[in-house]
């Protein structure tokens, strides 16, 4: 009896060990790919596109997961290049630029059709812009179009001022080509500068209407945009979801339910035919699409999955063919990095810390510089596994022709010298950590495992190299956003910026105002002037040179502590072709196809 008990225990122990071993050992050891590589029958792509989209209306959904789906069903005047994500012609065949980057004329394809067969004309573009900017429609992405003349004015219910006697419009003194715009709300006008208040006293206020927005149809297939300021990268902005053309005929007929299958009318290479919320959205080839002959997939399905492990399980079992960005869990990266189906590339995004430059000791640029120099970014990148170290501010390697500004990345000796110069020194003049008010500063971040790891790494670096221990504080995401904007933190706050469009300016724009996205309190006239000058420049190389000067100025003043450029980090089966790791992870689905011949796999 006793012996039998012992044998049983031995068996149990063995079984337990076997289970543990099978759970831990990488089942892909020696394999080129992760899991099953059996292509689906026919031309079908099954793609995990993050959580349930907010809406299938491209002017409502705000995020990247939505944008990814919109590319399948809606087209804009321009589209993302599958490899570089730069603007390529779509509904527009070509465009002309005039007036120092302030007027853009787009020549549209006459053969473009909605999925219901009616032609897509310049009037549809005008309608889409007016709808998106309507204050009653109240979409969160309308600010993307604020560069268009009077777009912001219309969207914020502002008013023009007409001279009561002559009937002439008052002009904007800062931009003489434009009419003066003042808040439509009387209380807000009270807050205007006295000189301006005196100027509009007794004049007639005329509300800005949709027709005043700087977009006009010159003929059925030509549309012109008048901008409020020079925007050399405007065609790239037009690939954003807000500018994708929406069907007036379906919206006016069905109202809010026009995006339901059955009511749906689209302009993209695919046509919606199934939508099960929190489960899947599926489209079939749109025969009316102007380039339908080039579309290879017969069906494209987006799955809504939220849990990373579940995504990887589905991928491994061959139930899906590709996933969106940031889907490989950190703990799996060592195993996945070497595989041929792991897609990684620098992203149009950066990860950094804001300094609160209005509160000591971080109001001293030497202190900010010292804290930046005391972080080993190569070590951080090694720790994070997929990212690339960042010492400038613009992500490295995604804007061809742009010369990233780099400074010395890691120099603890110089960091300690700088702190000594800033006054934290003993009698002999050497740096003395005990003089530094470490207890007054903190790193504030929004609650997440990954953010905690990064801030602990940085905290340890400072302890090691500067001898100071700063506090870490985390807040739930939406609470954190308010704290950061109001600068209710001392020291540093985490920030991550994802570019809205493929131009370095999307990163520089953060610091052109105080408040809003700029949680540093830093505003520099020279920096802003350099950016203005750059955007008036027509020639790309000269413009990039000016932007690089602005970046150099930003690094010199150091209102931020750059950390790294994130990486796209996603999976794609080798039989999926035409899907590239571009910096936005926004894919032009019409180029994608399934290769059934294993000899041609990636």
């Amino acid at each position: 009896m006793r012996r039998r008990g012992r044998t049983l225990r031995l068996w149990l122990a063995c079984a337990g060990l076997a289970l543990a071993a099978s759970a831990c050992s990488p089942s892909t050891a020696g394999a080129r790919y992760f899991g099953k590589v059996t292509p689906p029958d026919g031309q079908v792509l099954r793609y995990i596109s993050a959580s349930e989209p907010e809406s299938l209306d491209p002017q409502i959904g705000t995020g990247q997961p939505e944008a990814r789906i919109y590319v399948a069903f809606f087209e804009g005047l321009t589209e993302y290049d599958p490899k570089t994500a730069q603007a390529v012609p779509a509904l527009a065949e070509r465009w002309d630029v005039a007036d120092a980057n302030q007027t853009f004329t787009f020549h549209m394809r006459p053969q473009a059709r909605w999925s219901d067969g009616t032609p897509i004309t310049a009037d549809d573009i005008v309608y889409s812009m007016r709808r998106g900017l309507s204050p009653d429609f109240a979409t969160r992405t309308s600010y993307m179009a604020y560069d268009i003349a009077y777009a912001e004015a219309y969207n914020s219910r502002a008013a023009f001022v007409r001279d009561a006697r002559s009937g002439d419009w008052l002009r904007d003194e800062a931009a003489p080509g434009l009419r003066l715009v003042v808040p439509g709300d009387a209380a807000a006008r009270e807050a205007l500068p006295p000189a301006l208040r005196a100027r509009i006293e007794g004049q007639t206020l005329v509300p800005v209407r949709a027709e005043d927005i700087g977009v006009e149809a010159l003929d059925a297939h030509t549309v012109r945009f008048h901008l409020a300021r020079p925007v050399p990268f405007f065609p790239g902005v037009l690939s954003h979801q807000f500018f994708r053309v929406v069907p007036r005929q379906a919206i006016e007929r069905w109202g809010g339910t026009w995006t339901q299958p059955g009511h749906f009318v689209g302009s993209g290479p695919f046509r919606l035919d199934l939508w099960r919320p929190y489960d899947r959205i599926s489209g079939v080839r749109n025969p009316m699409y102007w380039d339908a002959a080039a579309v290879r997939l017969d069906r494209l399905t987006f799955y809504a999955v939220e849990d990373q492990t579940t995504m990887m399980n589905l991928y491994k079992a061959g139930a899906v063919d590709a996933t969106y960005n940031h889907t490989v869990p950190a703990a799996w990266l060592d195993q996945m990095r070497g595989l041929a189906d792991h897609m990684n590339a620098p992203e149009n995004a950066n990860e950094f810390y804001y300094f609160n430059t209005t509160v000591p000791p971080m109001d001293d640029v030497r202190v900010r510089r010292a804290f930046s120099l005391a972080v080993d970014r190569d070590g951080l990148a090694e720790f994070r596994k997929t990212v690339t170290p960042l010492t400038g501010f613009v992500p490295d390697g995604i804007f061809p022709g742009y010369e990233n500004q780099k400074t010395e990345s890691f120099n603890p000796l110089r960091a300690r010298q700088l702190l000594a110069e800033a006054g934290f020194r003993d009698a002999s003049g050497a740096y003395d950590p005990s003089r530094f008010p470490a207890n007054t500063i903190e790193i504030l971040y929004n609650t997440s495992e990954s953010n905690r790891q990064v801030s602990e790494f940085v905290q340890a670096q400072w302890k090691q190299h500067l001898g100071v221990t700063v506090r870490l504080r985390n807040e739930e995401f939406r609470t954190f956003l308010g704290t950061r904007t109001r600068r209710e933190y001392t020291g540093l706050a985490r920030a991550g910026w994802v570019g809205d469009y493929m131009d370095p300016f999307t990163f520089f724009d953060i610091f052109t105002t105080v408040g809003g996205n700029n949680g540093t309190g830093w505003l520099d006239a020279r920096y802003v002037a350099l950016l203005r000058q750059a955007n008036r420049e027509v020639e790309q190389a000269r413009r990039y040179a000016l932007l690089a000067q602005a970046e150099a100025r930003l690094i010199e003043e150091q209102p931020v502590l750059p950390l790294y450029t994130p990486a796209t980090n996603w999976m794609k089966k080798p039989y999926v072709k035409g899907l590239y790791p571009n910096p936005l992870t926004l894919h032009s689905w019409k180029h994608v196809y399934i290769e059934h011949d294993p000899a041609k796999w990636d």
């Binding site: 959580s51 600010y143 995006t259 079992a317 939406r478 609470t479 956003l481």
Partner: protein, 306 residues
């Protein structure tokens, strides 16, 4: 009994209103808004949104509107998913959660009651020890361990079952979620049944039934089970109500479009109409199931009278 049921149903209405009022107050206390994101919105855009959704009105107007919506059973449109009304979301998600929950509970009842009864009638035998050991494991292993373990073996090692996702009411996709979800209930029901049956089997009326010469089967099923299953019945009310209204962990692991996912995300998104809708629905289901349990007592236990 009918008046009892009606009276209880009527008290449901004020109770639901109290629950949604408390929830509404808690949402106000949470900082941030449905439209706040990594990117700060220009003030004009924020003002347009607040006007569109009536957030610029005084709190009592907003509160009154919420109460009115709840009484009418129309919670309005979700803020996060503006194309969908809360009622549409409930209509899509509840059947998924309910299918999963009811299948899991049915499985748990069949296995749990059988195992518990067998264990009770053969107390201290090998069957008793084995089933109670299994029940202990079932209670101790959390579903976020059991689910992925099943996936690891059945879906990723042997490729027998699909690892996740919804594919209709009757599909192999449901096998692992149902097993995962039912394990803990199965174990709990087995233990409740065993304890209840053991107590009843020792009581006088069972001895009388045996003494009358009734067959063992009749004694067990007609007499012992009616009393022995009472603890299971009172456990079932809240358990089924919770299963019906979504099971976050299992729905996440298996990527199922049920109510649990919506509820968690609605809170993170500060999606007030959706939160209120789901809370009101959950409150109603819990209250109704408690009523059903009370009514079931009357049917099963001859001692209970209304």
């Amino acid at each position: 009994m009918l008046t009892f049921a009606l009276r209880r149903l009527l008290t449901t209405i004020p109770m639901v209103l109290v629950v949604v009022s408390l929830t509404w107050g808690l949402i106000r206390l949470a900082p941030g808004n449905f439209y706040s994101g990594e990117r700060a919105l220009p003030p004009a855009v924020e003002r347009n949104l607040r006007e569109k959704y009536g957030l610029d009105q005084p709190w009592y107007v907003q509160y009154g509107r919420m109460l009115g919506n709840t009484l009418r059973g129309d919670f309005g449109s979700s803020l996060k998913y503006p194309g969908e009304t809360v009622n549409e979301i409930l209509a899509n998600a509840v059947p998924v959660s309910a299918t999963l929950g009811l299948l899991a509970y049915a499985l748990a009842l069949v296995v749990g009651v059988t195992a518990g009864t067998l264990a009770a009638t053969r107390q201290n035998s090998a069957v008793d020890h084995a089933s109670m050991a299994a029940a202990l494991v079932g209670i101790s292993v959390p579903n976020f361990v059991l689910g992925p373990t099943l996936v690891l073996w059945l879906a990723l090692t042997w490729y027998w079952l699909p690892p996740a996702m919804w594919d209709g009411w009757w599909s192999p996709n449901l096998i692992m979620p149902v097993l995962t979800l039912s394990a803990v209930y199965m174990a709990y029901i087995a233990r409740l049944t065993r304890a209840g049956m053991l107590e009843v089997l020792r009581s006088n009326y069972i001895r009388t039934a045996r003494a009358k010469g009734l067959p063992a089967r009749t004694v067990l099923i007609r007499h012992a089970m009616r009393g022995g299953l009472l603890p299971v019945v009172s456990f079932s009310g809240p358990a089924v109500a919770l299963l019906l209204t979504g099971t976050v962990v299992v729905e996440k692991i298996f990527a199922l479009p049920g109510l649990g996912n919506y509820f968690i995300n609605a809170n993170l998104n500060r999606d007030e109409p959706l939160i209120i809708g789901i809370v009101a629905f959950t409150a109603i289901v819990v209250l109704v199931f408690n009523l059903l349990v009370d009514l079931a007592y009357g049917l099963i236990d001859p001692r209970v009278r209304y």
